[in-house]
Symmetry: D2
Subunit: 356 residues, 4 copies
Amino acid sequence: MSSTYGDKIKISVFGESHGNGIGVVIDGLPAGFEVDFDRVLTQMARRAPGKDKTATPRKEKDLPKVLSGMLGNRLTGAPLCAVIENTNTKSGDYGNLLDCPRPGHSDYTAFVKYNASNDIRGGGHFSGRLTAPIVFAGAVCRQILESKGIKIAAHISSIGNVSDSSFCPTEIDDALIEKLNSSSFALIDETAEKPMRDAVEDARMAQDSIGGTIECCVTGIDAGYGEPMFEGVEGVIAKAVFGVPAIKGIEFGKGFELSTMRGSQSNDPFEYKDGKVVTTTNNCGGILGGITNGMPIIFRAAVKPTPSISQPQRTVNLQTKENAELVIHGRHDPCIVPRAVPVIEAVTAVAIINLM
Amino acid sequence: MSSTYGDKIKISVFGESHGNGIGVVIDGLPAGFEVDFDRVLTQMARRAPGKDKTATPRKEKDLPKVLSGMLGNRLTGAPLCAVIENTNTKSGDYGNLLDCPRPGHSDYTAFVKYNASNDIRGGGHFSGRLTAPIVFAGAVCRQILESKGIKIAAHISSIGNVSDSSFCPTEIDDALIEKLNSSSFALIDETAEKPMRDAVEDARMAQDSIGGTIECCVTGIDAGYGEPMFEGVEGVIAKAVFGVPAIKGIEFGKGFELSTMRGSQSNDPFEYKDGKVVTTTNNCGGILGGITNGMPIIFRAAVKPTPSISQPQRTVNLQTKENAELVIHGRHDPCIVPRAVPVIEAVTAVAIINLM
Amino acid sequence: MSSTYGDKIKISVFGESHGNGIGVVIDGLPAGFEVDFDRVLTQMARRAPGKDKTATPRKEKDLPKVLSGMLGNRLTGAPLCAVIENTNTKSGDYGNLLDCPRPGHSDYTAFVKYNASNDIRGGGHFSGRLTAPIVFAGAVCRQILESKGIKIAAHISSIGNVSDSSFCPTEIDDALIEKLNSSSFALIDETAEKPMRDAVEDARMAQDSIGGTIECCVTGIDAGYGEPMFEGVEGVIAKAVFGVPAIKGIEFGKGFELSTMRGSQSNDPFEYKDGKVVTTTNNCGGILGGITNGMPIIFRAAVKPTPSISQPQRTVNLQTKENAELVIHGRHDPCIVPRAVPVIEAVTAVAIINLM
Amino acid sequence: MSSTYGDKIKISVFGESHGNGIGVVIDGLPAGFEVDFDRVLTQMARRAPGKDKTATPRKEKDLPKVLSGMLGNRLTGAPLCAVIENTNTKSGDYGNLLDCPRPGHSDYTAFVKYNASNDIRGGGHFSGRLTAPIVFAGAVCRQILESKGIKIAAHISSIGNVSDSSFCPTEIDDALIEKLNSSSFALIDETAEKPMRDAVEDARMAQDSIGGTIECCVTGIDAGYGEPMFEGVEGVIAKAVFGVPAIKGIEFGKGFELSTMRGSQSNDPFEYKDGKVVTTTNNCGGILGGITNGMPIIFRAAVKPTPSISQPQRTVNLQTKENAELVIHGRHDPCIVPRAVPVIEAVTAVAIINLM
C-alpha cells in the first residue's frame, strides 16, 4: 500500500536500489496526449547524480524504457509503465549495514517492519534512487498540466544558512519558471550559488552533510480546486511531498510565520483586477479552506541533511545487541537539496493533477 | 470525497454550521470495545466554545447523540454514528457575506467551487464547528489506542510571540500527558498562560486576532508502523492535520531547523537501553523512512490568526463586481489555538489508528 | 470499511435495526442541483414495508430527515446526510436468537466476526431495513442521472417459477420505465402479478418463503464509461448489487446462457442507425471490455428466499454448544423480491453515477 | 484507475499485447515469505497458449522477470514487480481492425473511450494476454494463503452443453484440489474431457467459438472474513472475477437456482461437528451476510464464447461511417475456458487475500 499515490492519476513506484530495475506504473492518463519525451529526459537529467561536487559520483544512465501505455509518443490510455535498469551498483560497499543501522536512515525501521528481510543494499526501496521514476511520472504529468496552462517550478530556497530570494507570491513570471525548470542548481538569485556550493563543500570536507529548504510554486491554476477537510490542497500536496525522502516539514504561504501575525496582517484582501478576483497579498499560499483561490500556490519544504556521512557514528549492532560504532563507506551526496528540486516539482505535479 | 479520512478506521464528517445537525460516521471500529463516554464528553468540552475570553461567546451543548454502532457503551462493529444538533444559531448575522467574501476565509473559494450554492451561514461545512464531530471520533479512537499503550497529547506551543516549553523529545511522562489531556488551555509550563492570554486580549481589544503553534506527541508507539513513500507517517499525519481549519504548516522533530543543521548534528545515534533500541536524541520526531522508530512521534503545526476580525477589511462584491469594504459582525474567537489543541489530538488519533 | 461505496459519489450507510436511527452520508454530490424531494419519498415508499401480503406488517414512517447538504431543496455541495429514526420496534421478539443463530441469516457470521458484540435485535446492521437509506441515496443519484438522460428501471423478473416478460434488450421505452419506477409490484407484463402473488401466498401459508429474480436496465448511457479490468462496468455494478442482502447471483446480457452459445450467435453485430453506432442484438448487456457500448445496460440478479421462516429449523446453541431447534417469531416477509426492486434500482444508480 | 485491485495487497497490471512488455506490481506482500518460484511458473504454464487444440497456436515463453521485491526467493516487503517481455507478435494481422471493430470485442468501446488512441494491436491492454501477469500475482498470493491453510481450485464446469461434475459443496478434499491445480484441462470427472474437446473442435471446424462455465472453490477459510454490505465476500470476489475478460455472470452457492427455491430448502441448517459449527448443506456458498461462515466458498462464473471467429461478421467502418463486413485473420482460441481456469483461481486468490 506504500508506494502508490493518487485517485485519478494513480502512480505506483517499484524497485530497489540494487535489484534488477526500478520503475513506475501511471494509471489514468488521458489517451491521445502527445508526450515530449526529450523534456521528460531533461527532468530526469536534473535529478541524475554525478553532475558536480554537490552530488554523488555514482554515474548512471537512468534511461527509462517504456513498456506500455505509449505508442510512438502518444498515450494510449493503458497504464504507462517505465522501467529503469539498475547498472553500476557496487553492493559490496554496504556489508556492515546489515547489522549496524545507519543513524538517520531507514535501516533500523525497515529491519523491524520487514522482519529483517528487506533488501538493505543501497537502501533498497528506501533509496533516493527511487525518486528517478517519480521524476519520470511527474515529467509526464506536468506536460499535461502545462497544456492547461498550469506550471510548476521550485528552487533551492536555502542550504544551511545561505538563502536564495523568494518567489514574488502574487506574480511569478513564465521566464523565471522556464529558467528554474531547466536548471540543475535552481536559484532565483544566482549570486547565491557560490556561497551555497561553499557551504556544501565545507560540509563535505568535514566528512559531513548539510540540509536546506526548497520553495515551490504552482501558477495558472484556477480557483475552485481541492476539497474541504481531509482532501484540502494543503493535505494533498503534503502527502505527496512527504513521500520524498528527507523531507521533514512543509508550510504553505507564510506558513509558520503566520503564527506570530495578527489577522489584520495575514488576511489577504480581495480586489478586482482586469475583471478577475485576485488578492493583493498571498499569505495563504493560494489556498483558502483547502481550495485554490486562483493565486499561485506556494509552499516551502524542509530537507534534512543527508544521513550518510563518513564520520564515525554511534549505533547498535542488531546481531550482538551491543552498542557499536559505524563508519559508512560508499558514495554519498553531502547535500541532496539541488537534486531534490526536480523531485519536489514532480510530486507536486502528481498531486495537482489529482485535484483536476 | 472531501470529508472522509482513513482506510482502516474510516471517518466521514457531515454537517453545516447552521443546518439541522452535524456529525460523523466512524466505520471499522473493533466490536466489543467498551467506550468510556464521560471521557468522550470531556474531550468535546475542551473544544466547546464559551469557556473564557479566548473563545467565542456562542454557547452550545454539543452533546452527541449516538444513532448506531454502540449498545450500552460497547461497540457493536457497525458504523458508529453520532449526531450533534444545531441550536443557538443566529443566522441573521451573516447576511452581507453572501456577496462579499471574508478575506482569509473559504467564502470565495466555496462560492466558486459550489456554484454559489453552498450554505454560507456560519461558514457552512467549512465552519470550525465541524471540528466537534472530529473530536468525537478522535476521542473514541484514542481510547482504543490507549488500550494498546499509545497516548497522544498536545499543547499550545506558542501564541503570537509567547512560547510554552517544548516536549522533552526522548521521554514524555504520563503525568504530563494526563494534565494536558484534561486542560482547556493546555500548557507544559503554566507560567506562559498569563502572557498568552494577554496577547489574545490585546488582539481582541484591537478588533484583531492572533495565531500560534501547537506541538503534539504520540508516545508508546512501537517501531515498524507506517509505510515507505506516500504512506509514510509524516504524510499520513500531515493529511489529517491539514484537515483542521487554519493549519498552514507542519514539521516533524526539528523540522525546518534541520535545514540549517549538519548530518553529524541531526542524525539521532542509536543505543541499547534496557535491552531496547532507542535513540539518544529525537531530531527526526520518531520517524525514519516514513516508519516509526519506537521513539515518541513529535510534530508542530502552525495555526493562522482567525480570519474573522471586526476591523473593516477590503474585499470584493461578487454581485456588483466592484471592490468593497466589509465589516464582519457576529461572535468570533480572537484566537482559536487553545480550542484547536484537542482537535489536533483528535485528528492525530484518527491518523495513528489508521497506521495499525 | 464495510458500509461505504464509491469513489466519486461516496455513500456511507449507518444504523442498526433497533438502534436510535439509521441513515446515510452522501459525499461528492454536485452543488446547486435541485432535488425533487417528493420523488425521493416515492422511491422510499416503494421499499417501505406493510403495503400488502407480500410484505412484513411492520409499519413505519421511514421519513428521512436531512441534517446537512441541502438548503431548501438545493444541494449545497457539503455531504448530504439523511437520518431515519427507528420507531415501532418490538425487540422482545428476538430473544432466543442471541444463542441460536437463524439458518440462512448473518447471525452466526456476525457473532464470529464481531466477538458476540453485534446488536442482534432485528438483524442489527444486517437488517433489510438498512436498505431504506440506500434507497434514499439512490433516489438522489438517479435524479442527477436523469438530468443527463440516463434512466434506471427494474422489475420482478420471476418469483419462484413464475416469470415476467424480459426487457427488449435493444430498445426500452420511457413509458415502461416510468411505469416501473412508480410501481410497488413492478412488472412488465401485469398478468404475472396474480400467479406471483399466489406463489408468495402459498409459501406464506406453508410457513415458508420464496425467492426470485430481478431484471434491471440502464438506458441513455453513452458509450465509453467504465474501465478495463477491475473497474469494468460489470464489476462496479456487481459490487453494488451484492451489497443488497439476499442477492446471490448476477448476470449481464445473456449471462449464463452465453456459456452454451457459439460466438456467431453471441457476438452483437454493429450497424449504423441514424448516424449512430448501435448493435442489432444486445447479448453483452451493453458492456464490452468492461466499457459501455451505448446500448442499454441489462442485468439480472438472483434473490434467495427470505431466511426467516416460521417453521422449526435445525440450528446450534452457541452457549450450550449443542444442536438445537429454532422457531422464529416476529414479522417477516415471505418474499422480499417486490420490495428489493427499488433497492436494486438504487444501488445501480449509485454504481452508475460513480462511472461518470 | 482501471487496472488495479485491492486495498491490502494491491495489484497493478500494465502492458499491451504488442508493446514492449506486460507485467504487474504487487504491493503489500509480507516480507520474509519464501516464494516457490517453480510453482509460480507451473501456474503460468497452465494459462500459457499453445498447449493443444483448444488454445491459440501462438507460442510464447511468458517467463516473468522479477525486477524488485524479491531477494533470492524471499519477499523483501518492497513492491514486487514482474515483467514479461512481448515476443513472437505478428502485428500485421490486425490491420483492418483499426477501422472495423470486431463484434463482441472491446475494439469499439476502447475506440470511443480512448479517443482512437489506444493500441489496437492484439487487443492492446484488453488482450487476454494481460491475464498472464494476473496469474503471476495470483500464484504468489495463493502460496501465502496456503501457508494459512486456505486453498483455491477451479475446474471447467461446462463447455457448451457438456458438463463436468460439481464440487461436493460441504467437503472438498485436498487430493482433488491438487489434481485441479496442476491440470491444464481441469476437470473433476475426466470422462467429460473427450466430449468437451469434441464440442470445441466442432466449433473450430465451423469457424466458430464456444463458451462455458467455471466453478471455483476456496477451502480452509475460517468464519468471520468479509464485511457487511458493499465489502461482502460476494461483491469482493465478483469485482475480481469480472476483471477477467469474457466473464458475464457469477453466482454463489446455488445462485440463480435459489430463486426458485423455498426458504425451508435453501436455508443451510447449522450443526456441531467435531466441536465446530458447520452447515449440513452449503446452498449459500459459504457466505452469509457477506461474511464467510467457515464452509467452502463456492461460485460459478459464465464465460462467453471467444468473440474472435473466422466467419464473416457484420460490423461498421468507423472511418467511412458505413456498415461493413469483417473477416478476422490471426490466431484465436475457439474456447478460452480451459485457459481461464487458472486465471479465475488467480483473481480469487487476490480477492481472498484482500479479505484477510
